[in-house]
């Protein structure tokens, strides 16, 4: 996606996968992309609502 942070206003976003589609020109969420809602790991079908912070990121490599 190439973006660190963005405020989005959308209608009819039910789940994490919908958010991805909305910001990536309708593309589906790739399987190797990790997702979080409000800083907890989430899945493609995790519901999202008003004010939620949704994050997408690549596999983590700390330590």
């Amino acid at each position: 996606m190439g973006r660190a942070e963005e405020q989005l206003a959308f209608e009819n976003l039910a789940c994490v996968a919908d958010v991805w589609k909305a910001v990536c020109q309708g593309k589906s969420l790739p399987e190797n992309v990790l997702c979080a809602v409000n800083m907890e790991y989430a899945r493609a079908d995790t519901p999202v609502g008003d004010g939620d912070e949704v994050a997408f990121f690549p596999p983590v490599t700390g330590g």
Partner: protein, 153 residues
Amino acid sequence: MLIEVRGDPFDPLAELSRYRETSVPAERVGALAVFVGTMRDYNEGSSVRKMTLEHYPGMTERQLRSIVDEARSRWPFDDALVIHRVGELLPADPIVLVAVWSSHRGTAFDACRHILEALKHRAPFWKKETLEQGERWVETNTGGYAPAFPPSP
């Protein structure tokens, strides 16, 4: 229990002794297991000059806390100290310190190992390597074991 993400270089042994003096019930513990991860100057066949560690502020601390709590519910240790670097690192710089104090060695070793492995898979940190030429993102963790020595001729 102390969990910190640091933007500046740190000395793991100094951190350990400082934390031990102020926070750990020394008379009760019989074991201290320590892991220190440091930066190698090579990875996957290339020389690495520098590494930049990024993270997701807020989520990182939250994940680290949940990993330590989860380990403590499984292995009832007395105390733990976790420090992880972000920012620019040079070869030999400490990246991560995991220390676990417990009444017994098995609890200390197992909890320390678990915290480290869970951190590598769940804490949102990412590494970018600066090579002799160019940069690359590290895409996967290593298996964690050094390759076997080649057989003697």
